[in-house]
């Protein structure tokens, strides 16, 4: 896919020039190189240390399970390669090369796994089911932690009502029901947040507490603007890749995109709508962080405020997606100053965003853990046995050892490991699928 190769090449370039990186933790450190306080190699080393867990545990296991590219596998390494590269030509070359390695590697892996006696590819795909059910709940979890039990229970009743009742309104099919449930939960969360925000605003005087930020922010904005053309190109490519169904902008949208690819024409629309809804909700959680970090450091998030993803999912073809993607980046950037100002004046936005992200992680971790277990049961023929035993062992062992594998990744990673172990046992004559 030329789109993917181009995307990787350009993101590597963006990292090389210090314009934008994917990793939230690397972003504030990037200016240290330009300021002369840090060597490129050192920054690359730090970026590598921060990224390895994500690349392999999350990126690789998600990519193998769902057969869709994700930013952790594809773009965290281009961050590192771009920073490390001695000149911009190398940066582009290494980025492109990595994309090829990933794509061929993944298809090779998929082919290998397909050839194994104990099937893994299909069962792994079923992780999508529990995963997306959990994801659709995360706004409710956010309501719980931020607004308390009563509102959470009421919201839950509404959301369940909406989900189960939507067929009566003509919205049939799991994909639509899930999307509608997520949308309802999000609206409730936003509603509570707005109410509380207005109450807070009436109580406190609006004081600009940090006047010295303005000069730094202006500098940052100028710096960001210089990188805008490159970022618009990246946005265009990302949207196109999303439209083509080969790339997911986030973990939360993955199961929806996976199901969209497997589904028939009519259902695909519904799943894509679900992906867009979830992605939109997710980016609400990241917007304050992205905007604030961008203005404080002059380094942008690789995909702006990430609106390009839902736009990509919903676009009718890659060309439209690309154009809209570029325009979106431009529009986001134009708005970013206003956005940051609003954020300063309404602390409720950050609080809501924080609780959204917390809730999202908690929900995904659980959904993936359950999904992994069900996938393993499917692998061993439908009834819990040695496979599930191994899975539980791996999961519990990971917890007991202080989680060398992060909780977000342990579900799919353990499922893959169990699949391989089942095959190993099979070759040793110690395991066979039930007749």
């Amino acid at each position: 896919m030329a789109v993917v190769v181009a995307l990787a090449a350009l993101t590597s370039l963006a990292a090389h020039w210090g314009k934008a990186v994917f990793h939230d933790g690397v972003r504030p450190i990037v200016p240290e190189v330009a300021a002369g306080r840090m060597e490129r190699k050192q920054l690359a080393g730090i970026a590598f240390g921060l990224s390895t867990g994500f690349i392999f545990a999350v990126g690789l296991s998600f990519a193998v399970s769902f057969q869709i590219l994700n930013p952790w596998l594809l773009l965290l390494p281009t961050d590192i390669l771009g920073i490390l590269a001695a000149n911009w030509v190398l940066a582009i070359g290494l980025g492109a090369l990595w994309a090829l390695v990933v794509m061929f590697g993944l298809s090779g892996l998929a082919a290998l796994l397909s050839s194994l006696p104990i099937g893994m590819v299909e069962p792994l795909g079923t992780i999508a089911g529990p995963f997306l059910l959990a994801v659709s709940l995360f706004p409710l979890l956010a309501i719980l932690t931020q607004f308390g039990r009563l509102r959470a229970i009421c919201s839950a009743l509404i959301v369940i009502g909406v989900r189960q009742g939507s067929p009566l309104l003509g919205l049939e099919g799991e994909e639509l029901q899930t999307a509608v449930a997520t949308a309802a939960a999000t609206l409730l969360l936003v509603g509570f947040a707005i109410r509380r925000g207005m109450a807070e605003r009436n109580r406190e005087a609006v004081v600009s507490r940090y006047p010295e930020e303005s000069e730094e922010q202006l500098q940052s904005r100028r710096k960001l603007r210089r990188g805008l053309p490159l970022l618009m190109a990246i946005g265009a490519l990302a949207a196109a890749a999303c439209q083509l169904g080969v790339f997911s902008g986030s973990d939360a949208a993955l199961p929806f995109l996976h199901n969209a690819r497997e589904a028939g024409e009519i259902q695909r629309e519904g799943w894509l709508f679900g992906a867009a809804t979830v992605e939109l909700t997710r980016l609400l959680g990241f917007m304050p962080l992205l905007a604030a970090t961008a203005l404080a450091t002059g380094v942008y998030g690789l995909f702006g405020l990430m609106l390009v993803f839902p736009i990509g999912y919903l676009s009718p073809d890659p060309a439209v997606a690309a154009v809209l993607g570029a325009l979106t980046i431009w529009a986001e950037f134009a708005a970013i100053g206003k956005l940051a100002e609003k954020l300063q004046r309404h602390p409720i936005v950050r609080a809501t965003a924080d609780s959204l992200r917390s809730a999202m992680n908690a929900a995904m971790e659980f959904g993936l853990a359950v999904g992994g277990a069900l996938a393993v049961i499917a692998m061993e023929g439908g009834r819990p046995g040695i496979g599930l035993l191994l899975y539980i062992g791996l999961y519990a062992g990971n917890e007991a050892m202080g989680r060398p594998v992060m909780r977000l990744a342990i579900g799919p990673a353990a499922a893959i490991a169990c699949g391989l172990l089942l095959n190993a046992l099979h070759f040793a004559g110690l395991f066979a699928l039930p007749a």
């Binding site: 990793h23 933790g25 306080r37 921060l50 867990g53 970090t293 602390p347 977000l408």
Partner: protein, 116 residues
């Protein structure tokens, strides 16, 4: 009185652990990461604790941006490392969300030790 600001994911959990570990010798504020980092920067608070998935990403992003890379550190539940970082001038600590209950008591006790 050691003043600690808390930000990032699972702030409420961190707050609980900090209060348990520090009792009435700590003053705790839970807020957004930008506000928290600014408070440490302007001297309204002494230390910053933040959590995210890995401890290195969103946990410290704003702290690094506003306080500088040298005053921030991602830590695991490692008593000695944390104590030496506090002694060396680190004011912002990032932890992985999963190690909150293990790391926070160590961080708080190191902070209290250095305040004496």
């Amino acid at each position: 009185m050691t003043r600690i600001v808390i930000a990032g994911l699972q702030k409420e959990r961190i707050e609980r652990c900090v209060r348990e570990a520090g009792g009435d010798r700590v003053e705790v504020l839970v807020t957004s990461d930008m506000d928290a980092a600014n408070r440490v920067k302007t001297g309204l608070a002494d230390y910053y604790i933040g959590a995210c998935n890995s401890g290195g990403g969103a946990a410290l992003a704003m702290a690094i941006a506003l306080l500088g890379y040298n005053r921030c550190a991602t830590v695991k539940p490692d008593q000695q490392k944390i104590a030496s970082l506090v002694g060396g001038g680190t004011v912002a600590f990032g932890i992985a969300e999963e190690s909150i209950e293990f790391a926070v008591p160590l961080i708080v006790s190191a902070m209290l030790d250095s305040a004496r």
